[in-house]
């Protein structure tokens, strides 16, 4: 019964009384809707009490509101550990700020002579209630940690169930006592709001922050100049205030969204073991390829002759790539007469590697700028971007025993004879001496 009253009856009563009360106050005495400022009576202590209190409570309130209004997004943000820790730390700091502020205000009410006359019982009630409420909040934050995260799944649905007029106390019924008291305290504060100085919440002069300054002055030249200077100072101060606000907002947003990731750019990325192994494998393979390329280069510096292919592997349809003495790609074909034809595969236009597929008219294509080269002569087609023919490459054919059967120099002069009978057992080499001769 009690819990039904505390979690359903009291909230609805508080909301109802609050609304009715505020409307009544506004109609009865519109100019009385203030915090009954006592700044004129005492200013110094007030600053040390009021400012921390208001800064703290606004931040806390914003935190509560966010968890209530956008629980889903808030929850996902709070699943980021460092963000959750920051929010909790910020919240506790703000709570301490509130407590300090309230303490100063309470002490001030008790000790400042000028204030005693205007202080009513209601003021002490309000301040005590607020202190109790903040202290309870601190207990909750300390005792049942990570409320920024767990509240979205428990308290938020409860409050929403009240808002949607289908009260559901199942989640709050078994909550620990400090949390329940903290909630009850909130409803109580709401309840007394219309009848105390707390009413100033509905008349916060936010527009003062943004309106242009007004100053009433006597008009004479000196005063006028002073007024202008004062106005400029004030206006520029207003600009600086807005600047701080805008840049601060941008800074906070950027640091939340970007800076942490920028930091992690420099951290070692967390990789799965498999991923790491695969990456290492790829890198190793690239190193091997580089090493093998260098081996080819070394071989071309040292060896007098380099094996290209067995004659039987060659044909006239698809050339076989090899690397010539200048470390450039070459292509080997077999002509109709059974003699090998070796051409540089480096396009004489801009140095792309020519394709190895021979088309119907006996030509190979450089894909970069579409030049066709005749494989017999190496000549490009008329009008092709390439003007010069592909170089011929010197070769020697040796039989099984390694004795020389036939040669061709880079200029095309041939020696020897390739016997069809033994052709298939012969091998083709490129020759350094014949290359240099050209």
């Amino acid at each position: 019964m009690l819990e039904l009253f505390a979690f359903v009856g009291l909230p609805y009563m508080a909301i109802l009384i609050c609304i009715v009360g505020v409307v009544w106050r506004l109609r009865k005495d519109p100019y009385g809707v203030t915090s009954l400022s006592s700044q004129f009576l005492e200013g110094k202590q007030l600053r040390w009490g009021s400012l921390p209190w208001h800064f703290g409570i606004l931040l806390i309130f914003a935190g509560h509101l966010v968890a209530f209004l956008i629980p889903g997004m808030w929850q996902s943000l709070m699943s980021v550990p460092w963000l959750l820790v920051s929010v909790e730390v910020l919240g506790i700091a703000a709570t301490l700020l509130c407590l300090i502020g309230l303490g100063v205000l309470f002490f001030r009410r008790l000790t400042t002579g000028k204030l005693q006359k205007t202080t009513k019982l209601a003021d002490f009630v309000v301040t005590s209630l607020l202190i109790a409420q903040v202290a309870l909040g601190l207990m909750v934050a300390g005792g049942y940690r990570w409320g920024a995260s767990w509240s979205t799944g428990t308290l938020t649905p409860y409050v929403w169930s009240l808002v949607t007029l289908s009260p559901d106390v199942s989640v709050v019924r078994d909550m620990p006592l400090p949390i329940q008291l903290h909630m009850t305290g909130a409803w109580l504060i709401l309840l007394i709001l219309p009848f105390t100085r707390l009413i100033h919440m509905v008349s916060v002069p936010i527009h003062y922050l943004f309106r242009s300054p007004q100053k009433v002055v006597w008009s004479n030249p000196r005063r006028h100049e002073q007024a202008v200077t004062a106005r400029v100072t004030q206006e520029s101060r207003r600009h600086f205030l807005k600047a701080a606000f805008g840049l601060g907002t941008a800074g906070v947003l950027l640091s939340v969204g970007v800076l942490d990731k920028l930091g992690r750019f420099f951290q070692m990325p967390g990789m799965h073991k498999d991923e790491e192994a695969n990456l290492l494998e790829t890198r190793l393979r690239r190193l091997q390829l580089t090493a093998e390329e260098k081996e080819l280069e070394l071989e071309r510096m040292r060896a007098e002759e380099i094996f290209v292919a067995r004659l039987s592997e060659l044909n006239g349809q698809a050339g076989k790539y090899f690397i010539d003495y200048a470390m450039r790609p070459g292509l080997a074909f077999k002509g109709e007469d059974g003699w090998p034809m070796l051409l540089s595969a480096k396009c004489t236009h801009l140095g792309c590697t020519v394709g190895n597929q021979v088309d119907a008219s006996g030509r190979i294509l450089c894909p970069c700028h579409v030049s066709y080269f005749d494989i017999k002569t190496g000549m490009p087609n008329p009008g092709a971007p390439a003007k010069a023919p592909l170089d011929k490459i010197a070769w020697v054919v040796r039989d099984q025993n390694g004795s020389e059967v036939a040669t061709e120099s880079a200029r095309g002069s041939r020696t020897g004879r390739i016997d069809v009978a033994i052709a298939d057992t012969c091998s083709l080499y490129i020759v350094k001496s014949l290359t240099l001769e050209a």
Binding site: P269, E275, L279, L296, Y321, L350, C352, C368
Partner: protein, 365 residues
């Protein structure tokens, strides 16, 4: 009466670099910018500067991971793209911002031409600007090679091979000179580790140093002289440089940053190429289809494909010399003439960049 030579040198320098204006009043409080229908041109230089700043920042971040060797370069870039937190974003930003920067630099030069901003006393500013354009292209060319994938190396190969082509027009005794120049740039007869090392050094140390020098001079003289008038008639309206003009500059930077960020986040630069071109460069295999330079080289690349090479050399030489000598060649030209010239050049660049490929295929059949 004639001045002494020393006096006229001194006069020349003080009128070109009026350092006495280096004070709060001339540089900030009293400085004004003309407002007219070409005013938008005043913002392009600032935008280019902004993108340069992005390049410096993202470039330094990429340096933390990039490894300039033929065996590691490609893998290290892949590592940045796929594994480093925000690595893909930073890399894409660098790539996109490079394109934007080059676009702004070209547009800035053309509007400066159209506004006759090179006229006395701004000759030094103009020449420094032309040098900066060239350095920017050099940045693009050297940076393009660094990922060491098929398109990077093959496009660089094609680009460098065009140096060889100059040889055929030289007298016989000098005809090998062109090839020697190419080999010197490459560091080896074929593109390889030597080339990568050189291009890397150029891209991250030498060119930035050159830029900071020339850019300093350029910016200083722009600030000392203020904006040129830009149009024939004295503009009716002027606006304060500080805070109004500079604020618009900042706002543009903000918008540019947003666009750049969205593009870098959502549109990986790699997706603009066929994927076989992104594979590591294979020195011994055949050249894959679809090799072409970056878009900002199209205006020389496609004509080079279609016209005899000597035409390109002649036109390029004339254009380069013309750019440097513009303050003296066009000394007496009207603003209107300059606008015509600049629009013609801009029109040519736009058409070649957008439709170069189609024109090439139409011409070549």
């Amino acid at each position: 009466m004639r001045n002494s030579p020393a006096q006229s040198v001194f006069d020349f320098i003080t009128s070109r670099l009026p350092l006495y204006k280096l004070n709060m009043k001339d540089m900030v409080t009293e400085k004004e910018v003309p407002v007219h229908r070409m005013s938008w041109g005043y913002y392009l230089g600032g935008l280019a500067l902004f993108f340069f700043g992005i390049q410096v920042l993202t470039g330094m971040m990429l340096l933390f991971y990039y490894e300039p060797t033929v065996s590691e370069a490609h893998e290290s870039v892949e590592y940045i793209t796929h594994f480093v937190t925000m690595g893909a974003l930073i890399r894409n930003m660098h790539a996109w911002s490079a394109s934007f920067m080059i676009f702004c630099v070209i547009a800035h030069m053309l509007t400066a031409l159209a506004m006759k901003a090179f006229a006395k006393p701004r000759e030094m500013t103009w020449i420094a600007g032309v040098l900066l354009v060239m350095v920017t292209f050099a940045f693009g060319f050297t940076g393009y090679l660094l990922p060491w994938n098929q398109i990077a190396v093959n496009a660089t190969k094609v680009g460098l091979a065009s140096i060889d082509q100059v040889g055929q027009y030289l007298p016989d005794a000098l005809s090998h000179l062109a090839e020697e120049v190419r080999v010197t740039i490459q560091g080896a007869p074929a593109i390889g580790q030597a080339t990568l090392s050189r291009f890397f050094a150029l891209h991250v140390v030498i060119l930035p140093l050159i830029v900071s020098g020339i850019l300093g001079l350029h910016l200083l003289s722009v600030q000392l002289h203020g904006m040129s008038q830009g149009v024939e008639d004295k503009p009716k309206r002027k606006e304060k440089f500080f805070p109004f003009f500079i604020l618009k500059d900042f706002k543009e930077w903000g918008i540019a940053f947003l666009i750049l960020f969205v593009l870098a986040l959502c549109l990986p630069f790699d997706s603009l190429f066929p994927y076989p071109l992104l594979e590591p460069y294979n020195a011994l295999g055949s050249t894959p289809d679809g090799i072409k330079p970056e878009w900002y080289f199209f205006f020389v690349y496609y004509p080079m494909e279609m016209l005899p090479f000597w035409v390109i050399i002649v036109v390029m030489t004339i254009a380069t010399l013309g750019l440097f000598a513009a303050p003296w060649i066009f000394r007496n030209s009207s603003h209107k003439t300059m606008r015509w010239i600049a629009s013609a050049v801009a029109g040519y660049m736009i058409i070649m960049t957008l439709f170069g490929e189609q024109i090439y295929h139409a011409v070549k059949g």
